[in-house]
Structure formats: C-alpha cells, structure tokens
C-alpha cells in the first residue's frame, strides 16, 4: 500500500540501488509530504541506510530519480541535512565537541574561511538544544554513545535545513537521549520541516512517527502511520523472506550484471 502525497518534500521514483554490485533496493517509488516525521522501518539488511545514502548521493543509483522539494539534491543541498550513523566516524579524532558541531557550518563558510562569531553562536544554540552546552570543550573521545549522537544532531541543526535525514539515531543510545532527540525532531516537524528517520524499534513507531515507510529490499508500504502500520503489512515486511529475490540478487552479483541494462 503506497499512499502518495500531493506537493511532496521528497519524491523517490523507481529507485534501484546496488551495494557491492548486489541489488539491495528494487524499484522503490514513494513520496513524503512536507512536515512529515517519517520512520523508515524494516529488518536488518532491508536497505534502509542504503535508501538514505542514495537520497544523499553517497552511493550511485542504478535507476530512477530522487527529487527533494521538486529539485535535484545539488540545487537544494543547503536545505537538506544528513545525520550519519554514529559508528561511521572515528571518535578518537583530535577534536572538541565544539569543533565537530561547527563542521555543520562549513558549507556556508566557503573555502579558506574559518568559523565566524555567528557560526559559533549557531553551534552553541544547537548544543543548547540537545542539552550539551556544558560539554562544548570536551574531547569527543570522552563522550558516551548517546552524547555522540546528540553532537551529530547538533551539527546537523546548525545547518538550519528544511529536511533532515537521520540514519539510526537511536541505535545504542540511552533512553534519555532517545527521548530528547524525539522531542527535538517533533518540534522540527511542527515547524514544517520534513524529518526522515531510519528506525529499528517497532514498539515506538506509533508514538514517534506520523508517516511510515516499510522497507525490505522493496517498498512494502508508504503512508500515514495509522493507515500503514498494520499487522498485515508488518507481517509482509518482516515475515515471509523473499528467497527468490535474494537469490536473483546473488546471481546478478556473481554474473557481474548491472541491475539495469541502462539508465
């Protein structure tokens, strides 16, 4: 069940993506309305992070197109912010909390320039929002998992974007951090910003999100949580494994085919 929205913030059309030559997303096609707080739900290896990365052009796509605010990513980069998985970086890097949060402002700064007063103020404000202002001088290697996640969110918030994509922001964080992050995301959505979150825990889905994508190699459903988050569709997402699809993926990889002959 795929419910389309009018005047969408994000439109993904017939998206096929391969990872290490193996197709992991097949013909994904959906739209997400402006101001939605959307959860991307599915089992491990369903292609949730791949979808987010494809939207951010971090990996090449085999076919289809993606439009954000009806434009290509390059045209609206400053309005889109991405929070990668916490584990994607080395937290032993010699940097302070403030250094990392300021990185969110680099795009506005341009080459050769160092952060200005306004950037530092924006960073401080973001740190306040995530409740980490007293940590600003702290070395990042001394942070807990939850604090690392808050820092990443703060870095993203300094961008003042209109769309936020978060890759597993609740993985391995404490309950207080999860609550704080959800609070911030809800506020952002209330301000009309579109939020897309890769999420694992089915129990909190109804509380957190007003829009849901159910994903398992292909899109099973997209729509308002109330309509889409149903036992039947969840069963389809998590239950019957599509062994045939998985086997074909393996064959594509082995045979060095391209998932699409041309695009």
């Amino acid at each position: 069940m795929i419910i389309q929205s009018e005047n969408p913030a994000l439109e993904v059309h017939d998206l096929t993506v391969s990872y290490d030559k193996k197709p992991v997303l097949w013909g994904v096609d959906f739209t997400i309305p402006k101001g939605a707080l959307c959860g991307v739900i599915g089992p491990n290896g369903a292609g949730k992070s791949t979808l987010i990365k494809a939207i951010m052009q971090l990996i090449d796509i085999d076919s289809g197109y993606i439009k954000l605010f009806d434009r290509e990513l390059d045209a609206v980069r400053k309005k889109v912010s991405y929070v990668p998985q916490r584990e994607s970086v080395d937290w032993d890097f010699p940097a302070s909390v403030m250094d990392v949060v300021l990185m969110g402002r680099y795009a506005n700064l341009g080459l050769f320039k160092s952060p200005r007063k306004a950037d530092k103020e924006a960073a401080l404000k973001a740190l306040e929002l995530v409740g980490m202002e007293s940590f600003r001088k702290r070395q990042i290697s001394q942070l807990s998992g939850g604090q690392q996640q808050r820092i990443f969110l703060a870095r993203s918030l300094t961008q003042n974007a209109d769309m936020y994509l978060l890759d597993e922001p609740f993985a391995g964080v404490d309950a207080a951090t999860e609550k704080a992050i959800v609070e911030i995301l809800k506020n952002l959505a209330d301000e009309g910003k579109t939020i897309i979150v890769v999420h694992h825990n089915l129990q909190s889905v109804e509380n957190y999100f007003d829009w849901v994508l159910l994903l398992n190699l292909r899109l099973i459903a997209s729509g308002p949580t109330k309509k889409v988050f149903t036992p039947a569709l969840l069963e389809e997402t998590y239950g019957g494994k599509l062994t045939l699809l998985a086997e074909v993926s393996e064959l594509v990889k082995k045979g060095e085919f391209k998932a699409r002959e041309k695009h």
């Binding site: 971090l58 980069r77 889109v80 970086v89 080395d90 010699p94 940097a95 990185m103 969110g104 795009a107």
Partner: protein, 428 residues
C-alpha cells in the same frame, strides 16, 4: 659550545643549506603526516616513497640530467600512480587495504630498482649519485635543492593552511563533507598530491626507507600532547624542526654521522619521551597516577580500620598498638609501615608511647570513608537489588571514588539512613 656557535653562525654555506633544507622538508612532511595519521593511512607514506623510484629513473633516462626539479616531476607522477593503483585494487577486487598497500609498494619499488640497476650499468657518467635517493643525502644539499625544497614547502604548507578546515572534515567524516557539498574528490586529490610532494622532497634528505618515519613519528608524538588538531599539526611541525636542526648539528660535529638517520633518531627520541611523559596519556604519568591512587587507597583503608576499631569499643579515639591483631590481619607489615608513616606525615595520626592515635582530622576522615562504604552498600541492596552478602567487596572500591556531591545525593536518595545492609550504624 664553540661548535654550537660555529654551527649557528652559518658561516659555511653548506651548513646553511643543510639546516634550512632539513627544516623545510621536516615541516612539510610533519604537517601532511598529521592528516595521514588521523586518517589511519600511515602506510601511505611508505607506498609513495618506494613508488617514486621508477619515476626518478624514468625522468633521468628521458632528460639525462639530475636537476632536482625534473626528477621531482617524475617522482611526483609515479608516486601518484602508485596511490591510484592501490585505490583501484581496493575498489575493484576483494583484496583488502593492507595487501593492496604491500602490492603497490613492492611492485613499484621493484620496477624502480630494476631501472636503477639498468642506469648504473649503462655507463652513463651523469648517473653517479642517483642512488642517493635510496638513502638520502641530507648532508650534501646544495643551493638548488634548497630552492626546490623551499618552493615545495611553501606550496604544501600554504595548501594545508588554506584548506585546513576542509582537510579536517574529510579526514574526520568524509560522508558529511560530501553531503554538505564540499568537492571531496578534489580535496582528496589535493591532499594526496601534497603528501606525494612532501614525500618526494623528504626522500632527498632521509631516503626511501626513513621518510615514512618523518611523516608518522611527529604526528604520533604530537598526538600524545594535545587533543586539538591544529595544535597537533603545529607541534608535529615543531618536532620536525627540532629533528632537522639536531640532525644537521650532529653530522656537523661528527662528520661520519649521517644527517638523515639522525633526524629520524631524534624524532624517535621525541616520540619515546612523548609516549612516556606526555601529561594525561604518557605511560609514566599513568603509572604515577596509579601509584598515587594506590597510596590513597592504603591511607583511607587504614583510617577506616582505625575508625572501626574504635567504633567497636565505643571509644573512637583510643590508642592502637603497633601489634594490633586486626590491623595485622588486613594489612601486610610493609603496607603498615609505609601507610602509618604517610598518615603521620599527613597529620592524620600521632605516635603515642605504645602505638598510634587518630587525630581529629584522621577520625573525621576515617568516619567519612566508613560512612561512604555503608551508604554504598545500602544503595546496592536497595536500588540494584544485590544480596546484602554480596555488596561489601564492591563498596570497598566505591568508597574511595565517591565525591562529596555524590555523597550528598546518595544520602538524599536513601533518605538519610542510619544503618546499612549489614545493620551497623552509618556514622553521621
């Protein structure tokens, strides 16, 4: 002293060339080394340094001259190609980074040695001295080398300065750099290019094998002293300068001593000093901290034992004989000797005719440790549901850790208790 003055007066042009040459190349290799270090690509310097050899030989074969500029161009190109080959192998095959690194390094170096041998046997008179690239020739730098080094150093450092924040971001979080629209591929290209340049110049001083040390050692040493990236780069460059000057000075005083290897030796000594003595991270400092804590533990445990002995007899400040059985059971004679001496020196106990007596301060401190011990026991049984007979061991440690603020919170949380899990009184 005289040699020192003679050395720094630079009255021999050769000394001047060597000192400034080594300083310039140390600074540039240390600065770019910091980036390869934090990117965990430390071995890249090794690959490049070995891979420049075929480039040098080919430039010589084509041009027939040993002009540093011409050789550097060839070296730069083949250094770059080796990195490209390495990355292509990692991307397109199942071979992992370590194997690809080794492969690229040895293949290029092999071709280089092959060409070098060919040139040496070709009877070309101009070839003599080409093999200095293998081991460096820091002590024989000339004016023309200095100009080349200077230009490259300015180029390398200028680039690091101008693109510092971008390089920092692609080193820490390349994905984020890419999504905010930074030209990551171009930046990566520039960063590798200046790394190759730094290596190519460094080779002329210290040679193919030791240049990796010039890249990594200053960065590794600097990392021990600071947690800020820009300070790390400055410090690494400073270490590089020290090594350059001392290497030049050592070979000046003892002409049989080679400059390049001494630069690396000095760097290694700086690194060793950092590993051992750097505040916070140095091994000795950490050992010392451990020692201080051990002593504090002993002191507090003794005071607690004193307090408890008195507590049992309802006479807290009573004297304790040096032969007290209970003390002897809990502490070794060595511990007792050292601990009592320290406690006396700190004014927590005073010596009496037959033994020891707690001072007012010692009594208070012993009481506090006992209180913390029992508070923690109570906390464990009440909030962590741990059986009362299992909490003692844990509290033995935690009693030394709890700060006054935590103590206050514990008391509030436990509602100012007066007895603990084992039911002895909790002293106020």
């Amino acid at each position: 002293m005289e040699t020192l003055i003679e050395f720094f007066s630079f009255k021999y042009p050769n000394v001047k060339y060597v000192v400034f040459g080594t300083i310039l190349l140390s600074i540039s290799s240390s600065a770019v080394g910091c980036f390869t270090f934090v990117k965990k690509k430390s071995l890249i310097g090794d690959v490049i340094s070995h891979a420049v050899l075929p480039g040098i030989c080919i430039s010589f074969l084509i041009s027939g001259s040993k002009d540093p500029f011409i050789l550097i161009i060839g070296a730069f190109l083949s250094g770059w190609i080796s990195i490209l080959v390495m990355n292509k192998i990692i991307q397109n095959t199942k071979i992992k980074e370590d194997a690809a690194t080794g492969f690229s390094l040895s293949v290029f170096f092999g071709i280089g040695i092959l060409l070098l041998t060919f040139i040496q046997h070709s009877g070309n008179a101009a070839q003599s001295g080409l093999d200095t690239f293998l081991f460096g020739k820091a002590a024989a730098l000339v004016g023309k080398d200095l100009i080349a080094f200077g230009m490259i150093a300015i180029l390398v450092l200028g680039t690091v300065l101008a693109l510092y924040k971008e390089f920092k971001l692609i080193s820490f979080d390349p994905q984020f750099a890419s999504v905010i629209g930074l030209p990551t591929k171009t930046l990566e290209f520039i960063l590798i290019s200046i790394t190759v340049l730094a290596v190519v110049t460094g080779i002329q001083a210290v040679g193919v094998v030791l240049i990796a040390a010039m890249l990594i050692t200053p960065a590794a040493a600097a990392r021990f002293w600071t947690n800020a990236f820009h300070k790390m780069i400055l410090l690494a460059a400073f270490f590089g300068v020290i090594s350059g000057v001392s290497g030049a000075f050592i070979s000046f005083t003892a002409p049989s001593m080679p400059t390049g290897p001494w630069m690396v030796m000095v760097l290694s000594i700086i690194a060793l000093i950092s590993f051992f003595f750097a505040p916070g991270k140095g091994i000795l400092i950490r050992q010392y901290k451990r020692f201080v804590i051990q002593r504090q533990l002993l002191e507090e445990n003794l005071l607690k034992a004193f307090y408890k002995l008195g507590e049992n007899e309802n006479h807290p400040k009573r004297e304790i004989t040096t032969n007290d059985d209970k003390l002897k059971r809990s502490f070794s004679s060595n511990q007792l000797k050292k601990g009592l001496k320290k406690l006396k020196a700190d004014g927590y106990i005073i010596a009496t005719k037959s033994g020891w007596k707690l001072t007012q301060e010692g009594f208070q401190k012993g009481k506090r440790i006992t209180r913390l011990h029992r508070l923690w026991e109570l906390y464990l049984t009440k909030y962590l549901r741990i059986a009362p007979d299992h909490v003692h061991e844990d509290a033995e440690t935690i009693e030394h850790v709890i700060t006054p603020e935590l103590e206050k919170r514990l008391q509030e949380l436990l509602d100012f208790p007066t007895s603990d899990a084992h039911q002895p009184a909790i002293p106020p």
